[in-house]
């Protein structure tokens, strides 16, 4: 999509004021752009307004509309108006985004200047990216990004990604049901224990089963226990890793979650992983009809539309539930992902018991952005990205749920923001902001497998998990198969090469 032509009048006006006043001294009102107020800095509206890129073209590839795609187009439009550049944007569904970016890269075609994509592909894309110049790294917007997301943006000590989003998996549940005394009584009767927010995946499965296929919200429609992303090639691997992490990521065992960094032996068929898969298989009976082939879109509709009691993945379903016109607005809450009492210790080869459940928050996916190394417009491209992610724009984007821009600066974890700006109930805002902050600052994080060939590793993993889910193989058999395939992939790519890349991920986890 080519963003439409400059609104001539507005531009003329800005140009005129820019001529009359030195940019620094100017306190101009940019609230017509939908922001509350400009935040001074190198990437502010005023600073970008002072630049002139007329006669130049910026090509951007981004995700489909609205998630990330809509803010890309919106800020492209604004950038065009402020600088006089022509900005072309193309929107691509996530399933096709990788190839669309990779083919031009590999064939040496300078197709795009700016790229928005999933941060886990950094292992494949890093040779083709330009490093973020120091001046941008020193900008106030970038300085205030949390260490977690700065870490995600960095590769071999260089910052290659421009952080503009923060993503992670967390638990979402229907607070109204959990707080309903009738439901609490029913649960107690069924299971003999009090209804609490699941602290382990065993509890999650138990709660989901207890509330499955009943009308717990009294609207006449049947409700179900759990909505999860289970469709094989549609991000199911992420859901699976969330479930596995607390069983397989021992806080005291360093040196790799997916592989043993020293030997590059795949760990996917170790007992922690197998147990996680068994619980995933078991949870299928508490999913809505068709829930065993839910894509992310289905999961969002299922939980966000009030069909299911619990769900876990990115922000989308939570945001859907909190839409102005949603029937379950302010009836939901967020929590950190369930953990595990028994954690596999691969150093000792035994299960370790944790009285307080072990948590292993999964910092997954996350939209990110970068500038192509072969771009002829790197100056303009970085200006665009720093403008996209400036403090004023981000605060405005955070409020539009469908944009998919989620908290990644310390200031974003303030419950008051969601309460006053978005009208959320205090309790909802509190649970959301606290959960996200805890994950961000938490220990024992798990990160995506950002190595060359991540697509191959994950499609192999998803295929194996799908076999177990459908009953074609047992959990152990399926993951043994995956481990064997992973071994072959490592051999093909070269163990040293994968290890060098994986060391970056492990360094983040073990920091």
């Amino acid at each position: 999509m080519t963003t439409t032509k400059t609104t001539v009048l507005k531009r003329a006006l800005y140009a005129a004021t820019a001529l009359c006043l030195p940019a620094a001294a100017m306190a101009q009102d940019y609230s017509s752009y939908g922001i509350k107020e400009d935040v001074p800095g190198a990437c502010s509206f005023a600073a970008i307004d002072a630049k002139d890129y007329s006669g130049r073209t910026l090509n951007i590839i981004t995700h489909a509309i609205p998630v990330i795609g809509e803010p890309t187009a919106l800020h492209a439009q604004q950038f065009q108006e402020l600088t006089g550049a022509t900005v072309n944007v193309v929107h691509v569904p996530f399933g096709d985004l990788f190839q669309r970016i990779m083919i031009p890269f590999q064939t040496g075609q300078a197709a795009y200047d700016v790229l928005f994509y999933a941060s886990l592909w950094l292992g494949d894309f890093n040779p083709y990216f330009a490093e973020v110049p120091q001046s941008y790294q020193d900008s106030s917007g970038m300085m205030s990004v949390t260490p977690t997301y700065k870490g995600v943006a960095t590769w071999n000590g260089k910052m290659l990604q421009y952080t503009m989003d923060g993503d992670r998996h967390y638990l979402k549940y229907r607070a109204d049901v959990f707080e309903n005394p009738e439901m609490q009584a029913m649960f107690k009767e069924k299971t003999g224990r009090d209804l609490t927010v699941p602290a382990t995946w065993e509890e999650y499965n138990e709660v989901a089963a207890a509330f499955n296929d009943m009308d717990f919200d009294g609207d006449g429609q049947p409700n179900f226990g759990s909505a999860e992303v289970t469709k094989r090639d549609d991000l199911m691997f992420s859901a699976f890793i969330s479930r596995v992490a607390p069983y397989a990521k021992h806080p005291d065992v360093k040196g790799g979650f997916f592989f043993d960094l020293e030997t590059m032996t795949p760990l996917v068929n170790t007992p922690g992983w197998v147990h996680g898969l068994e619980l995933f298989v078991e949870a299928q009976k508490s999913m809505p009809p068709g829930g065993t082939s839910f894509g992310l879109g289905d999961e969002i509709f299922s939980f966000g539309g009030g069909q299911t009691l619990m769900s876990y993945s990115w922000d989308d379903a939570f945001i859907q539930a909190m839409q102005e016109d949603s029937p379950i607005r302010n009836k939901v809450a967020a929590a950190i992902l369930p953990g595990a009492h028994e954690v596999w210790n691969r150093d000792t080869g035994a299960w370790d018991h944790f009285d307080e459940p072990n948590r292993a928050p999964y910092v997954t996916w996350g939209w990110s952005s970068a500038v192509a190394a072969n771009s002829q417009n790197q100056d303009m491209a970085f200006d665009y990205l720093c403008f996209f992610a400036n403090e004023a724009n981000t605060l405005s984007d955070l409020q539009i749920g469908r944009f998919g821009v989620n908290p990644y600066r310390d200031t974003h974890f303030d419950p008051a923001f969601y309460e006053t700006e978005m009208g959320w109930d205090a309790a909802v805002a509190e649970s959301y902001a606290t959960t996200l902050r805890d994950i961000d600052g938490g220990a024992n994080q798990v990160f995506d497998l950002r190595v060359p060939g991540v697509g191959e590793f994950m499609s192999s993993l998803a295929a194996g998990v799908a076999r177990a889910m459908s009953g074609e193989a047992s959990a152990q058999e399926a993951l043994d198969g995956v481990a064997a395939e992973w071994g072959q992939i490592v051999d093909r790519i070269g163990a040293d090469r994968v290890r060098a890349a994986y060391a970056n991920v492990v360094a983040l986890e073990d920091r």
């Binding site: 469709k231 094989r232 009809p289 509709f301 060359p452 191959e456 499609s459 799908a466 889910m469 459908s470």
Partner: protein
């Protein structure tokens, strides 16, 4: 003057060869390389990709599954298309309306329609299960059980491409000469015997052509699988093209997927030739 014959054939042939030659040769060359996400380029690894392919049970299973799925779907399309063509051939009210209606599904965009079909088959939010419930058949696990998922894929294919068969066969029927039917009536042949001894033999050639083209097109089944089931549950709906897509575009194993494709091309050419011969022989025998 027969030299002018080249004026007819060559422009088309040369244009096609010019467009397709490089991609074809390139694909052959790539299949002997390990071009992938981390090693772009045309190195030489001999026949490694083909050795790997021989041991790739997922590929061969997908090929068998595709063959069965394609044969079943195309057969059903043929039978349904022929039946519908016979029904709106003559003696029916509003036949022109029905004819237009029966053509339209073929004109929808597969990449968009597959998403629509996924909403239709959606087991709790889609329209199909409530209707089946109301009819007393009961809700079905459309996309979460292997057998049902295969059926769902077939239903989509049949909806979209039966019109192709219908059009080819209806056009054929409408061009049949009258004389054989008069003769059959004089012989006192009933409708079934007339169909078997007059209509069907005259439609044999056109049927063969239509079936072959549908076999080629149906074998490329990919988008529908991707959107409806992603090849699941398990691997139960994974077809060759979908598997090549996963290896080629998702995993970005360009070299290996070229080898998969070339093998597929050879298998297809051989089996289509055999099928064409068999169909033609059936026709001649009749």
């Amino acid at each position: 003057m027969y030299r002018q014959k080249y004026l007819f054939l060559l422009p088309g042939l040369l244009v096609l060869v010019a467009i397709i030659l490089f991609p074809l040769l390139f694909t052959i060359r790539v299949s002997f390389s390990s071009w992938d996400v981390y090693n772009p380029g045309l190195n030489w690894i001999g026949g490694d990709n083909f050795t790997r392919l021989l041991a790739d049970s997922r590929y061969w299973q997908a090929l068998v599954r595709l063959s069965l799925l394609t044969l079943a779907t195309v057969t059903l399309q043929y039978v349904l298309g022929f039946g519908l063509a016979l029904l709106v051939w003559r003696d029916i009210a509003a036949r022109r309306l029905f004819r237009v209606l029966f053509l339209v599904p073929m004109m929808t965009t597969p990449v968009v329609m597959s998403v629509i079909w996924r909403t239709i088959f959606h087991e709790s939010l889609g329209p199909l299960n409530p209707i089946l419930d109301a009819l007393g058949i009961g809700a079905q696990p459309w996309l979460s059980q292997a057998g049902h998922a295969l059926a769902a894929v077939m239903i989509v294919e049949i909806w979209q491409w039966t019109p192709f068969m219908f059009l080819m066969l209806l056009a054929g029927l409408l061009s049949l000469p009258q004389e054989p039917y008069l003769a059959a009536r004089i012989d006192g042949a009933g409708p079934i015997r007339t169909f078997l001894s007059v209509t069907f033999p005259m439609m044999a050639a056109i049927s063969t052509g239509a079936i072959l083209i549908r076999l080629i097109e149906a074998s490329k089944l990919m988008e529908t699988i991707y959107v409806l089931t992603s090849g699941g549950p398990g691997t139960s709906t994974e077809t060759t093209s979908y598997y090549i897509y996963i290896r080629g575009m998702r995993d970005f194993q360009i070299g290996y997927s070229a080898a998969l494709s070339l093998t597929y091309l050879v298998v297809m050419i051989v089996s289509l030739t055999v099928i064409a011969k068999a169909l033609t022989r059936m026709v001649v025998k009749d």
